[in-house]
């Protein structure tokens, strides 16, 4: 038990510490760049919590199920089988696409990361309204934790993919392998930017979450996942429409990963020969730059909108 004098010392020390601390204005933004720096600093301070929220999400999802996280593998594997048989064998795409299973799995892995980030993030703030209304936290943490849990699933799928390639196909040991991590980075930066914006908008307009579902459905077929880019090129012949097609960072990331990991796509010749977009590396770097700018803007939009979250929820 502390004695009265010790308590008085504790009290005085606390008061002195507070007197020495500068005031922080918690009521409004303080200018463009300083604000971003503050937001990032705030997030870094809460990184442990971010980890805990991700773990909570995953633990809660597979709580009380016997197979647990193994379930997260079934969905992609089943879709892989469906696309392999329906599109590859029945519709005959496998005849002009070498190693069709590997091809689809590469594209699918990247796409599932993107779609899981978006569909998880769009509801993240609304679903955590209890916390948003009652506790002060940097609100970016909620879409970010959705990204975190999507990344965990992605990690598991990547392991399966890499093993699958080693067993069923081969790795081409060339610098092009580096395209894969670069593509994932581009995708992550772009998806984070989109996630921030849609999660904030969804608070004000719940239609966004339904819109995102439709968007993901359409863009799954727009992206070269179950058909190769070669098909697109054959139809568009490099015209301006193809340039627009390649301006989509998600498609670009998928194509780049395929080029890195789907070795049959590069080594095949004759009727199986594949076409790759010119200057893929340069396009990827430009997409990265654009995504970084977009992320910055998205964070500003998010910061502007988050002031009224507590009352809108």
């Amino acid at each position: 038990m502390e004695t009265a004098t010790e308590l008085a010392v504790v009290k005085q020390r606390r008061l002195d510490t507070i007197a020495a601390e500068p005031f922080v204005d918690v009521s409004k933004s303080q200018g463009f760049f300083r604000d971003t720096v503050n937001s990032v600093r705030d997030l870094v301070a809460h990184r442990e919590l971010l980890g805990r929220l991700v773990r909570r999400e995953i633990k809660a999802r597979y709580k009380d199920s016997k197979l647990g996280i193994v379930w997260s593998l079934f969905r992609p594997l089943i879709s892989l089988l469906i696309y392999y048989f329906a599109i590859g064998k029945v519709m005959g795409a496998a005849r002009s696409v070498p190693d069709f299973a590997i091809f689809v799995f590469v594209g699918l892995t990247i796409w599932l990361l993107y779609s899981e980030i978006l569909s998880g993030a769009v509801r993240s703030i609304v679903e955590n309204s209890g916390l948003v209304k009652k506790v002060y936290l940097p609100r970016e943490i909620f879409p970010l934790s959705a990204i975190g849990s999507a990344l965990v699933n992605f990690g598991i799928q990547v392991v399966v993919l890499l093993i699958g390639i080693a067993v069923l196909s081969t790795y081409r040991w060339s610098p092009e392998l580096l395209l894969a991590p670069l593509a994932v980075v581009v995708l992550l930066v772009f998806a984070t930017a989109v996630a921030l914006i849609i999660s904030a908008w969804n608070v004000y307009l719940r239609d966004i979450q339904h819109f995102v579902e439709i968007y993901l459905l359409i863009f799954f077929w727009v992206s070269p996942i179950v058909y190769p880019f070669t098909y697109v090129h054959r139809v568009l012949q490099g015209n301006w429409l193809e340039q627009i097609y390649l301006a989509n960072p998600v498609s670009l990331a998928i194509i780049a990963t395929q080029k890195a990991l789907w070795s049959a796509g590069t080594t095949s010749s004759g009727s199986l020969m594949q076409v790759w977009p010119p200057d893929l590396e340069l396009r990827l770097v430009i997409a990265l730059g654009a995504s970084v700018v977009l992320l910055f803007v998205a964070q500003r939009v998010f910061a502007r909108l988050q002031g009224n979250f507590a009352q809108e929820l």
Binding site: I18, A19, S27, E48, R52, A60, K63, K133, Y136, Q311
Partner: protein, 398 residues
């Protein structure tokens, strides 16, 4: 010593826009009438408030007066429309217990998660973990999923986490009245410890008793405006007047007549200083009962009740029991209940005065109640005064 402020609220206003249309369709279809349907509502208007470090401030007001909004603005949870809130030191907001609890996770996992939400690091949680579980008193269930907890266990665990966060500034919204009696005592003791350690507490409460017991200063809000800022007794009186006004207005609007009589004062008198002095156990005292009659009517009964702070009645007396009738002609009247000896045990009591119809229907009860202390030189505790002695007889055991 100069006063160090921990929170400075200046010119804060908060406007809520009540917007009826939420989806795109509704907004498009009704875009023309959108402006018409918009309603502005001021939850706070031009609030200026400095809070000194180490003080305990109570925010009171009726429902919808803006006190919770002010608390959230101080906490940075909502952004004011105008004005600024400046703050320093580490803050913990207890606006809802267990806000971050996930029903599917175990108590242990939720302790870690909730403590992280309130701003503790991994190392700090590891250090406090045993203390938290110990305080909550639910060691046996700590590895059970919280969805199987009773509501009492749930709030106990949540409160235990909250009080082990080491804040300089603690914001509390109506969450102190949790758990059973012993747990509530534990919570109040913890809050008192916080105060002694120089932490600042801002508390929103509807319980006048809690405000009286905890706060140094009271801020009364009414429809978003600050009505009063100052001492606790005076603040609670202002609040009571506001309640009375509201009641009278509501009564007028509903066509119900205000009570025809009112208890205006209940004063405990120890013979030397009125209302301020403590009673000495065993000494004579009296209770002055003042009331005002508005309109003539049937005879009434004056009732007096002495209660413990927990609300247990220790003593009750009415003029009917004594076979007396009290004057009921319009005007001010005073009664004095005199007692030759205060045979009460040492402690803190409240005296409550009320007027009743002959059939027992309440006409008016005095609020706030009057509190007084009884001091006693005798050993022993409880509500009654007994004079104990003890005798030893060692032979009997042999």
């Amino acid at each position: 010593m100069p006063i160090t402020n921990i929170v400075e609220v200046s010119g804060v206003s908060k406007r809520f826009t009540v917007n009826r249309h939420k989806s795109i369709k509704e907004r498009l279809v009704n875009s023309a009438s959108e402006r018409l349907h918009r309603e502005d509502f001021w939850a706070l208007r031009d609030i200026n408030l400095n809070i000194a470090a180490g003080s305990t401030v109570g925010l009171v007001g009726h429902n919808g007066s803006g006190k919770s909004t002010l608390l959230k603005a101080i906490g940075g949870i909502i952004e004011p429309s105008e004005g600024s809130v400046r703050r320093r030191g580490r803050m913990a907001a207890l606006l809802e217990l267990g806000a971050g609890f996930h029903p599917d996770l175990t108590g242990r996992e939720n302790v870690y998660l909730n403590a992280a939400i309130l701003g503790l690091t991994q190392k700090e949680i590891d250090r406090y973990f045993d203390a938290i579980v110990d305080f909550s008193g639910i060691e046996a269930f700590i590895d059970t999923q919280v969805k199987f907890y009773s509501s009492g266990m749930y709030v106990r665990l949540a409160f235990a986490v909250a009080v082990h966060v080491d804040p300089d500034l603690l914001l509390v919204d109506e969450v102190l009245a949790v758990g059973d009696r012993p747990f509530q005592d534990k919570c109040m003791a913890k809050i008192a410890e916080f105060q002694e350690e120089g932490r600042t507490i801002v508390v929103v409460s509807h319980s006048a008793g809690q405000i009286e017991a905890l706060c140094h200063r009271v801020v009364v809000l009414n429809h978003g405006e600050m009505k009063f800022d100052g001492g606790v007794g005076e603040g609670l009186r202002v609040l009571q007047e506001l309640y009375d006004d509201e009641g009278r207005l509501a009564a007028l609007a509903a066509g119900v007549a205000p009570p025809r009589a009112k208890v205006t004062a209940v004063i405990v008198d120890n013979g030397t200083e009125r209302s301020t002095g403590d009673l000495k156990s065993g000494e004579p005292f009296s209770i002055d009962f003042e009331y005002a009659i508005d309109r003539p009517g049937d005879a009434m009964i004056a009732a007096l009740s002495v209660e413990s702070l927990e609300g247990t009645q220790v003593y009750g007396l009415t003029t009917k029991m004594m076979g007396e009738t009290i004057p009921v002609d319009p005007g001010h009247h005073a009664l004095q209940f005199a007692f030759p000896a205060a045979d009460l045990g040492a402690g803190h009591y409240v005296a409550r005065g009320s007027l009743h119809e002959l059939d027992g229907t309440l006409v008016h009860g005095r609020y706030p109640v009057t509190d007084f202390r009884v001091i006693s030189a005798l050993p022993g505790n409880g509500y009654v005064r007994l004079e104990p002695s003890v005798k030893f007889d060692s032979r009997r055991r042999a």
